[in-house]
Structures are given as C-alpha cells and as structure tokens.
Symmetry: none
Subunit: 413 residues, 2 copies
C-alpha cells in the first residue's frame, strides 16, 4: 500500500465577482481532480485550525502529522534545510532578503528590485565573516532562489529568541535585532546579527556588482534584511513515527523541502520545475510516478497556484490549476488503484482578493481501495464540504492515511 | 429523562466488493435502526480521534466521557474489574492466556487450542502462589471466559511499568518480563511475573487435567502468557461527574464491564448472553428495558459484530447486525419517547477486510424528545455522515447527552 499526496500550494480561494461568484477552482476545468473526488471520500480540512492563516511550513508539518505549534521553530531553519544546509541543534538560522536601501538608510525595495543579477557574487564575501565580539561563532551565508538568502550562526551560546530586522514595509529604516528575553545568549545573538548586517552593508555598498547595477540605473542589492530566527526542530522522522521504510518529497520551494528534510524524506529535484507559473508541472508528476514504487509515501507540492494568488492573478490561477489537473490525470491514470491512496488537497487558501494566505479550510479528497466513497463528484472548496470526511484538521490527515494503509498501531485493548 | 446507549461492538466497516461496494451495515436489513435515525440527529464519530484505531476499553471510556489517554491504564485492571475482582491502587493486574508450549519452550498455540476443558481446575493451584523473593506480595489468579485469565499482584512496591511475556505470535519462545524503567518496583514486579510464569508452567505440566488432555491427543494448557500490566485507574464515577443517581451496563465481555465498573455503573449479567454469534441479543434488550426505569443511563454492548469482523465473516456480521436491529426494535417500541434518548453507535469499526479494529469513524444517531432531527433516514456509515451532528469525537458524546437531558452545568455567566 502506498500514498501519494498532491498539494496545490494556496489553491483554495473565495468566491469572486469576476467569476460570477465562483472560485478559481470552481471555474477551472478539472476533469481529473473531479474523477479522483468521484472515486474518493471528500471533506474540508483546516490545515492548522479553523480561521488560522497557515504559513506553508506549519501547514506541511501538520499535513505530515507533526504538531506545528511544537515543531515550527521559525522560517530560517526550514529554508536552510531545504537548501541542503545541515544544522546542529545549537545553530540558529535566519531567512534573509537582498534589499535596496538609500543613503538615508530607508528601505527602497525589500527585494532589491527583484533583480537577481550577481547576487551569488554578492553573497560570497558575506559567507565566513567573523566578529571580534564572538570569535567562536561561525557565520554562514548563502543566496537562495531569487532575492532570498539564508544566514546561519554556528556555535554554542546562541539563541533564536531575537527580533527581525525586516520591518516588512518600505520607506522606513530597517530595525535593529533585539533580544526577546534576558538570556545572555539572546543578547549575544542579536548583537551578532546587527554586526553582520552592518558589515554586510559596508561590503555590499562598495562591491563591483552593485557599482555596475547603479551605473546601469538599477537598484543595488546593498542590504540584508534578516528574519525568522530559529534553531532546527527536533523531529522524529516519518519512519520513526509511522514505520514507513522510505518516503519522498517533490517541492518547488526550499521552505517545503525543509519540512520534508526534517521529516526524513528523500528530496527529489525536478528539472524544469521553477516554482512559478512557467513550471513544468507534468514533469513533476512524472517524477512522482517514478518515485512511487520505491516509496510508501510521496508528497508533491506545486507552487504556482500560490504565486498567482499572491499576485491577484485570476487567469493565472485558473490556468495553473488546469495544469495541475493534467498532472493529476497523468498520476491517476498510471497508479495501481488496488494499492495506492491518492490524496488531493492544498496547504492553505491564497485568495485572489486577499493576495495572501487566508484561514479558510481547503478541499480534500482521498481515493483508494478501502475508502467509504461518498457522493461528491467534483473537487472544489464547496462541493467537498458535503463529503463523507466532514471537517478535519491537517494533523488528522496522516493518522487517517496510516490507518487506511494498515500500519496504524492500536490504542489499548 | 433517561439515556440508553446501544453499541454494536466493531459494527462499523468499509465498502466490500463482495457486497457490491456496500458495508455490512448498509447491506443488512435494519428497519429499526433506520427508524431511530429517521427520528434522530445523526453524524459520524471518531471514538478517540480521526484515524486512531481504538481498543474497546479506551473507546468505551471516551464514550462515557473519560479521556482515554488519561484513564486507560492497561488491559489487566479493566479485565479484572469486569470479572468482579476489586483492586487496591497499589495492585497490578495482567491479562493472561492459557497457552500451549512444547518441550523446546516454543509456543504452539497462544490459546491452548481454544480447548477450555478443565481450565478452572488448572487455575486453582496457581491462585495464592507465594514467592520467597517477595514474601509480602500476594498472587491472585482467576480464569475468565474461554482461554482467558487474570493475574493480580497485590501489595506495596509494585509497578505496572513492565513488559509483556506474550510475543503475540507462535513458533517462538515466550518473552521474559522486563522492567521498563529503573525503579526498584519495576524490577521486582518483572521478577515476580517471571517466577509466576515458571512456577505455573511446572504445576500445569504435571497437572492431571493436562495429562488427560495429552493422553486424548489434545493440546495441554501448560503455559500462562502475561500482558497488559496496569494499576487500576483513579476515575470519578458518572454520578460524581454528571450527577446521575444510578446507571447500569450490560456488556458481554469483561473488558467493557471493567470500564463500567470504574465508572460506577451497576453491571447486569444476562443469561444467554455469550459474546458470540449465538448470543441471545433480544434477551439483552429485554434486560436493558427492565433496567431503564431504575437508571438514568443504561449502556448496552453487543459483542458479536466485532467477533464476526475479526473472523472476516461477512454473512455472520450481516446476520448479527440484523439481530441487533431486532433488539433496537424491541427497545424503540417500548421506551417512553417523551423522556428517553436512544443512542445508536459502535465503539469502533472492525472491517471484514482488516480483521481487526480500524480508525474509521463510526455511525451515530441520537433520537429523543429535543434533538434537531435531520434528514437522515437510514443508519449506516455513509448515510449518517450527512447528518446534523457532523463529525464529533467519542468524548463529545456524553456532554451532548447530559445537555439534552438537562443536567449539564453552565460554564460561566
């Protein structure tokens, strides 16, 4: 028995006037998702709890059976793990942005104009910086996709209980990192962050890449915004929790890959997967099908539906949903239905009108050999609410699946 | 106002190919259960939580309003209480099997061929054994239904944190009991268990009953397998929790009777009740009706549906469901509908294809004077999922009922 979980990131939505009161998922042509719903049991799922707006990492933690309030230690360590950076329990990781700051030290653009040219060259001299105030603390800095980067402080005596420097708005100065408790480790960590930010600003301002960007009338990537401090979570793997021999994850963003890493899943990269609207989604489906014989659980996350939601791009969201539907069709056609549970869902809603994650429940369908098939025949936010699963939470999903595949332990006699 | 809860043990199931995709409950003719559903409010219930596979004792604890994670202390103390054995808080009880072991000390049959002849005579000399290593610890041993027995260690300085000797498979040697923590009480308890097992093996091997069994070519009941160590739970009674003056339980197995005992219920035995497919289920219903005027809560558990599920016996499961339906009809016809809430449910699913308990939710119907009757007109796993109760948990049931009968306390002002 095998499980494949297909997640349209941020795929849930709310009714749109522009669509005559339909959601993008209701408007899109999704014959394959509907087919899965028709052969499955459906319901709605609160990734965390009703009304809670989930980040993708807490939501994926919950969907894999981990209490997100216990294991979500901050964005930094999940981004870092997703980028392949291994951390010690005492290390602290931060999610960073390359940003643009003017001479008055006001933030002009939090993403340096989304101009990624030369960011790898800009990152290089920041990696390995040392500070006299804490000579034993090692600094690792690595650029990630687009304007993103990760900062890791390594060593003893560090704390994740420090504030962000990113004010999350423009035309204001960046913040200083402050300790959020009285522990000496928090004071030390905030100090190192501030020293890193200052030193990096000096290096970036004079770097050749930025001199060339300014000369060409483009924004310099001259400042590092720091947020999401966290130690790596101490998580049992899916193998330890459920007895899976092996499991795999295909995801387009490092945040989700990081969750999968801590869960002990193999992380499969797919050529042509871009995390954008131009991603080769069917290639993702083909890789998932290839991984399935060797893994009892395969989790797939397609990012584009979330990107379209954040951008308020109705047509883009409909189009990417229809392309996810093609992937679902490829998978549904190929899997051995006698021994595979196919799960369709989203990690949260990213409604077009909100342009950010909302706390609405997401649609859920589970098709497979022994489910109590219900009367739902289409897969969308409203149709599935009449299904046989009723309303569950993200953390309920894995126990339900583990029970269906027959490896759940009995509680008592 | 009164409540009668009718539980078909393990009655829930999954769709079966042999039944054209129906469950046994869907296939069975259940006009009386359907009538209760028609006059009631319906829903699905996770006895413990979604996907969690419940034992009968944890599930009945939850259905009576007790947190099973807090009060399920192990199988032993519930079996013992159900057999009428009273325990002190310091005592430790174990559930035992009479088993057959060969000369190489390999287990041949974990139930001594299900041959119950003479087991009472074999149990007698094991009761009251004393050990030099712990002269103040009293040993009580009592045979129960079929191949089952209970071992109780009485005295100070005992621990329930010891491992089972039952490997739960055959053609292997039994295990030694081991302490599961560093407490001296755990080491002592494990040692006494091992000494008891050794001493009983010596006694049973040479006992006349077994010499006769062997001479007749039958399996000797020459070994005691021990598991499920537990102290008795410290539970408030239903009277203390809800203010019932009196409540009663009719159950066919000691495990469920034990839950009822700790909940402070009167336990009523019914002649002709066998816990098997041949049980006189209508007699159970008659006793329940007789108990109702004297009790505000009567809980009835019929075991046969679970037995048929464990055996993968489709026809047997359908037949026993139809016989439970007759009992429901007798009760529904007789009760004063102006002052009685009739509750139909199961303690868990025991699907034919799983042959063991599963984590699927169970159907639930509550009929009575003040419920918000919904549109559900038949009682089965799928029809009730569209009902007005939605999806609840086992521990939610008793608060709902207590509120309906008007004895719930208000929370705050």
């Amino acid at each position: 028995m095998r499980i494949i979980i297909l997640i349209g990131d941020g795929m849930g939505d709310r009714p749109l006037k522009a669509l005559g009161g339909k959601t993008p998922l209701e408007e899109a042509s999704t014959p394959n998702m509907d087919e899965v719903a028709k052969h499955g049991i459906c319901g709605i799922m609160d990734p965390i709890a009703p009304g809670v707006r989930p980040g993708s990492a807490p939501s994926h933690l919950a969907i894999l059976g981990y209490d997100p309030y216990k294991y979500y230690t901050g964005r930094g360590p999940f981004e870092a793990a997703g980028m392949g950076i291994r951390m010690e329990p005492t290390d602290v990781a931060f999610r960073c942005n390359f940003a643009t700051i003017n001479e008055e030290m006001f933030i002009v653009d939090r993403r340096a104009g989304r101009d990624t040219e030369g960011l790898d060259k800009l990152a290089a001299p920041l990696n390995g910086l040392r500070f006299n105030s804490a000579p034993r603390i090692q600094v690792e800095f690595k650029n990630a996709t687009a304007h993103r980067a990760v900062l890791i402080l390594r060593g003893q005596g560090l704390s994740s209980n420090v504030s962000d420097t990113d004010p999350e708005k423009i035309n204001v100065p960046p913040l200083e990192s402050r300790p959020l408790d009285d522990a000496p480790a928090s004071a030390l960590t905030a100090q190192i962050v501030n020293e890193f930010v200052q030193a990096s600003n000096d290096i970036l301002n004079t770097h050749e890449v930025n001199r060339n960007r300014v000369a060409a009338g483009r924004m310099p990537a001259n400042y590092i915004l720091v947020r999401g401090a966290g130690h790596p979570p101490k998580m049992h793997t899916l193998m330890e929790m459920y007895g899976f021999n092996s499991s795999a994850c295909i995801a387009e963003v490092s945040l989700v890959k990081g969750v999968a890493f801590y869960a002990g899943m193999e992380i499969i990269d797919v050529p042509g997967s871009t995390a954008g609207l131009d991603s080769d989604i069917r290639a993702i489906g083909r890789e998932a099908l290839e991984a399935l014989p060797n893994n009892e659980l395969v989790l797939v996350n397609v990012k584009g539906s979330d990107v379209a939601g954040h951008d308020g791009n109705i047509e883009g969201k409909i189009e990417i949903i229809e392309r996810i539907d093609e992937m679902v069709g490829d998978i549904w056609e190929e899997v051995n239905k006698e021994e595979t549970y196919v799960v369709l869902t989203a990690d949260h809603s990213t409604p077009i009108e909100v342009k950010d994650h909302s706390g609405d429940p997401v649609p859920l369908a589970i098709a497979g050999p022994m489910v109590r098939v219900d009367e739902v025949t289409s897969f969308n936010e409203r149709s599935v609410a009449k299904g046989g699963l009723g309303r569950i939470r993200g953390v309920d999903l894995m126990p339900i699946l583990i029970d269906l595949v027959g490896i759940a332990k009995k509680f008592g006699a």
